[in-house]
């Protein structure tokens, strides 16, 4: 009876297991017991990007992706990019550094525009917010990337934050940033595009790093304890894979 009610039980089990582990680590962190946490260099690098733009009097360009939409399977990557954008814009607003947020998806534009204007209000500088800070460039992947290329070359961009969902435009944007000598950080969970970010960006976020970035940036011990539990799950999975491989090779399973 129960069997007829559910499907994909294994996936459901893994999701519940991860959430339970995460909840346990949250509770442990609340009681003051911190789990060992790895360091994400990108956190300091984002501050460096903002700092350099402030020193040089240039602009920061932030993009959350040139592909996919918020109702597709790529949405989490775009949302992770928005989390990073939230942090960068907050820092830039505090230091009065001009920013340009570009989007390829109209729904992401609406979201980013609301977020950026709300950040400036929270920082007590609503007059510094300008509608042209957040720009919807095009719904088409290559039209978007060529518009970004134009912005990077024409508008004195000093730092280029490329975190989100990217496809073929990753190299176009990354390379254009490299040509103008911008400080660049790239990140995506699309493994096919990571090599392009690796050769064009100064700092790289690989796969799940883009999801973990939000927790690291928040500085919230509770959120960071979740990342520690994630690492534990990964270690457990590695152990399972190694043991299974040995057992399979020996013909036990």
């Amino acid at each position: 009876m129960v069997h007829n009610l559910f499907q994909n039980e294994a996936a459901l089990f893994i999701i519940i297991a991860i959430m339970v582990l995460s909840s346990i680590s949250y509770m442990l962190a609340k009681r003051g017991k911190k789990l060992a946490l790895r360091r994400l260099k990108a956190v300091d690098f984002l501050d460096e990007c903002v700092g350099r733009a402030a020193e040089m009097g240039g602009k920061i360009h932030v993009t959350t992706g040139g592909y996919g939409s918020l109702y597709s399977e790529y949405a989490p990557q775009i949302l992770a990019g928005i989390s990073a954008m939230n942090y960068v814009v907050s820092k830039a607003a505090a230091l009065d550094v001009p920013i340009i947020v570009t989007t390829c998806q109209p729904e992401v534009y609406s979201l980013c525009d609301a977020l950026v204007s709300s950040i400036y209000k929270v920082k007590g500088k609503p007059e510094n917010y300008k509608p042209e800070m957040v720009r919807f460039l095009s719904g088409s992947q290559f039209a978007y990337s060529s518009a970004v290329l134009g912005i990077l070359h024409r508008e004195k961009v000093v730092s280029n934050i490329i975190i989100g969902m990217f496809a073929a435009e990753s190299l176009l944007i990354g390379w254009a940033g490299k040509l103008i000598g911008a400080l660049q950080i790239g990140g995506t969970a699309n493994t096919a595009q990571l090599p392009f970010f690796a050769v064009t960006c100064d700092e790289l976020l690989i796969g799940e790093d883009i999801y973990a970035l939000g927790a690291f940036l928040s500085g919230d011990v509770l959120q960071q304890s979740g990342i520690a539990s994630e690492d534990l799950v990964k270690l457990a999975l590695i152990a399972i894979i190694i043991v299974s491989s040995i057992l399979k090779s020996l013909g036990v399973i």
Binding site: F6, I18, Q105, L115, R135, L172, F196, V199, I210, K234
Partner: protein
């Protein structure tokens, strides 16, 4: 902030997000035609909402380029004129006379799109050149693999050195597939936790709310 204001600004959108996310996710695990129908309806709403946001996007595009024109920003305003003329010509043609719209799409948009895509070939060549500098053991292995893969894809060399074929397939099937799957598994675990942080209201940027990340 009063409770009503807090609910409207923060808790309400969060609640809507959680309910919609659960309803959209449940059909993946629970077999129920009712849930399937509700989830499909929600997805249709999402598509309709995106359609509306396209109008907002066009307004923003016009606003940004009109500002560029008004301020006569050097090196930018001529492009803004071209963009505004082309944007509204295409838009009006799409509503009024479809054949012109199709011609713009076929003879202007498609070739330009293809041209930008073709630029990638030069960019890839340049990026590969940059990546091939041997500075460490890792970069040496990388360069070696690039060499093997490039040679294997060259029919003349592949015919001359048939031993490259098994090496190519071994690299592709074992280390490359293994590393790729590892990254996908790790990303999936990270994604589950990211969703969990959203559900408990720790990640709020996706609701357009400033404050903690």
């Amino acid at each position: 902030m009063s409770y009503a204001e807090r609910f409207l600004r923060r808790d309400g959108p969060l609640l809507v997000m959680i309910v919609v996310a659960i309803i959209s996710m449940l059909p993946f695990f629970v077999i129920s035609p009712v849930l399937d129908a509700v989830s499909t309806t929600i997805q249709k709403w999402a598509v309709a909402l995106v359609g509306v946001t396209f109008i907002i996007g066009i307004i923003n595009l016009t606003q940004v380029h009109l500002t560029t024109l008004r301020r006569r920003i050097r090196g930018q305003w001529p492009f803004s004129i071209v963009l505004i003329i082309l944007l509204y010509t295409t838009l009006i043609a799409g509503f009024v006379y479809k054949p012109i719209y199709n011609q713009i799409f076929q003879y202007v948009y498609t070739p330009i799109n293809g041209a930008v895509y073709a630029m990638l070939a030069f960019f890839i060549f340049s990026a590969t050149y940059r990546a091939l500098g041997i500075k460490s053991v890792g970069s040496f292995l990388f360069t070696l693999l690039v060499f093997i893969f490039s040679m294997r894809n060259c029919p003349f060399i592949a015919a001359l050195i048939p031993q490259l074929e098994p090496v190519y397939y071994w690299v592709l099937k074992i280390p490359v597939a293994g590393a790729n799957r590892g990254m996908i598994v790790a990303a999936s675990i990270g994604l589950i936790l990211y969703a969990f942080r959203m559900f408990i209201g720790k990640e709020r940027a996706q609701l357009g709310m400033a404050g903690e990340v």
